[in-house]
């Protein structure tokens, strides 16, 4: 293909064409992925999603917010969606429940009350989270509500002792991809403010892989035959927070919700 005379330049052009043809986002060559001392891809660091999936993971245009007094800062921005294929494959009853949830979300969305967000929602809230990766465990600490989870590596037989808000996470590596199976999550968590939901039979399979030194690709496949007609997947980038001296702060939001939840029970409140 390349004649001897311009071989180097020709070869370079061929390689570049292959890179562009193969797509703009792909796993890095092995030498570029940050690694732990035992050779595994290293996911440690502080990460955050950008976008509006926390409002609605399906594609959506901008829309009114729930509180008139918040004006433009309280309305819902649009989003191209993180659901692969665009629509969640709900059963008819599942879709009806989602629409009912959405109509009453300020009252019923558990995250409004500072309840733990569950998986995958915790990963696309507008708050940073920190991954601390060791050999047998990975800890993920979320700034929102001080939620956290422990990922148990290479313990596929470790069944959840009980249902939990953040689910039970078992992880392993396949080449340079971290795969986490999340099971036994309470039915009470939602997937976004738009009321997307699941039952406690939900199984989430997460995949994390590097797309650059400061970028991950996150995929999660959700299976729940009680509300979805087939498995479906979300996919979006996670960006490393590069601010100097970046650290998680606290968002201990219980304090911010006490009046909302218990205000009507205070002494002297008119309904008492």
């Amino acid at each position: 293909m390349c004649d001897r005379g311009a071989q180097q330049l020709c070869f370079l052009i061929v390689v570049l064409m292959q890179v562009f043809v193969c797509g703009s986002v792909s796993a890095l060559e092995n030498t570029e992925i940050p690694r732990t001392a035992n050779g595994r891809p290293d996911f440690s660091g502080i990460w955050q999603a950008i976008g509006t999936a926390h409002y609605d993971i399906e594609p959506h245009a901008s829309d009114f917010g729930p509180l008139v007094e918040n004006g433009a800062i309280g309305a819902i921005p649009g989003g191209i969606g993180v659901v692969v294929g665009g629509e969640i494959p709900y059963t008819d009853e599942g879709r009806a429940q989602q629409e009912e949830n959405k109509a009453t979300w300020l009252e019923n969305d558990p995250v409004v009350k500072c309840y733990m967000p569950g998986i995958p929602r915790a990963n696309y809230l507008p708050f940073p989270f920190q991954v601390i990766q060791s050999t047998d465990h990975i800890v993920v600490a979320y700034e929102f509500a001080s939620a956290s989870r422990i990922v148990y590596l290479n313990r596929p037989d470790f069944e959840a002792p009980i249902l939990s808000w953040m689910g039970h996470s078992r992880g392993h590596f396949e080449d340079d991809v971290l795969i986490i199976d999340v099971t036994d999550q309470v039915a009470d968590t939602w997937l976004d403010h738009a009321g997307n939901h699941h039952t406690d039979a939900l199984k989430v399979t997460e995949r994390y892989y590097h797309a650059g030194p400061n970028t991950l690709i996150y995929e999660a496949t959700l299976v729940d035959p009680a509300v979805y007609t087939e498995p479906w997947t979300i996919r979006f980038p996670l960006y490393r927070r590069l601010d100097e001296n970046m650290q998680l702060l606290e968002y201990k939001c219980v304090e911010f919700t006490e009046e909302l939840i218990y205000g009507h029970l205070r002494k002297g409140v008119s309904s008492n």
Binding site: S134, A141, I150, P161, S164, L249, E255, Y262
Partner: protein, 334 residues
């Protein structure tokens, strides 16, 4: 949380003194290393010690229990557990061992029963406080005494006008960091990466994140419930310095002046020596040092979904409203 095993004799092996003595006499045991070459402190550690924070007067000047003391305590703990009475939090077990009486945390409503408490471990020290040498907290400041008095009066007169009248733990707002109460959800899991140590406090699903690379503390104007921690290795000891506590993180005054230094050293496969040096000038006239031995456990920790399940807060507030209404209507309390 581990369930109490209601058997007639509960003999907790004293794993700590023998390993502690070994550490002192220069045994050949060495702490294993993580893949990054740091001392490996990882695992789940339980703080179920029966050692009280302050030395009870009955121990006088003794810093360590004798063998007779330990035999007595073992027998009394077994008797208390077999009685299956109300749960005894913190130092309640030791007090019951000596007084012969079980004093419930909440005699009016009733309380958890003893099934909810973890088995308690006997360690040799007569107090967690090692400095001052009398095993007791330094004297409190005038301000702290006044604040405690004011708080007690307020709670007596306004036990539940609002959620703000209830303790921070009951509100599921914060259980503090470090949380050092023993015997109930008193489990820590330590996970280490190259640049960070994570200490997960089971109660209440809090991860203390400790960077072990040089990094300045957060700006002094950022005040935090759990403070802001930075760590480094001093030989085989992890040293953690925590500043930036918020005033509201504690009921004692000027908590934003508090500086804690913690030292964690693995002294055997199954024991972690924890030392806290606290300088809290709003509360105490001097600093103090506390030592706790954490014991290794094969158990995993659970999620502690405090706020999500906080029926107690709604019930406490509404219960008081009902009592007030009945009193206003001139009805006798049942």
């Amino acid at each position: 949380m581990k369930k109490v095993i209601l058997v007639m004799f509960i003999f907790q092996t004293i794993s700590i003194p023998s390993s502690w003595v070994l550490a002192q006499t220069g045994s050949t045991w060495e702490v294993a290393r993580t893949i990054d070459g740091d001392p490996d402190l990882q695992g789940v550690w339980e703080n179920n010690t029966i050692t009280p924070v302050e030395r009870p007067d009955v121990f006088g000047n003794k810093s360590f229990l004798s063998d007779d003391d330990i035999a007595f305590l073992r027998r009394r703990i077994a008797e208390i557990n077999a009685a299956g009475d109300d749960a005894l939090f913190g130092e309640g077990v030791l007090q019951a061992a000596f007084s012969g009486e079980i004093t419930s945390y909440d005699p009016s409503t009733g309380n958890y029963d003893s099934q909810w408490m973890a088995e308690r471990t006997i360690h040799r020290r007569t107090s967690q406080i090692t400095q001052p040498s009398n095993g007791k907290y330094p004297p409190r400041t005038e301000k702290a005494i006044a604040a405690a008095k004011a708080l007690a009066e307020h709670r007596r007169d306004h036990p539940a006008d609002s959620y703000t009248d209830r303790p921070l733990g009951e509100r599921c707002v914060s259980f503090g960091a470090p949380r050092l109460s023993s015997g109930y959800n008193s489990y820590w899991q330590i996970v280490q990466s190259k640049e960070t140590v994570a200490i997960i406090q089971e109660m209440a699903h809090d991860v203390r994140i400790i960077p072990i690379v040089p990094m300045p503390h957060a700006n002094k104007n950022i005040k935090l419930w759990h403070g802001d921690s930075r760590g480094y290795w001093d030989g085989d000891t992890l040293v953690i310095e925590t500043t930036n506590y918020s005033d509201k993180s504690s009921t004692s005054p000027e908590t934003d002046r508090k500086v804690n230094v913690e030292k964690l050293t693995r002294i055997s496969e199954t024991a972690l020596r924890y030392e806290l040096m606290s300088d809290d000038p709003g509360q105490f006239t001097g600093s103090y040092t506390r030592e706790i031995i954490f014991d290794y456990t094969e158990d995993d920790i659970y999620e502690y979904a405090c706020h999500e399940g906080n029926y107690g807060m709604a019930n406490i507030l509404s219960g008081h409203r009902v009592e007030e209404a009945r009193a206003a209507a001139g009805l006798r309390e049942r």
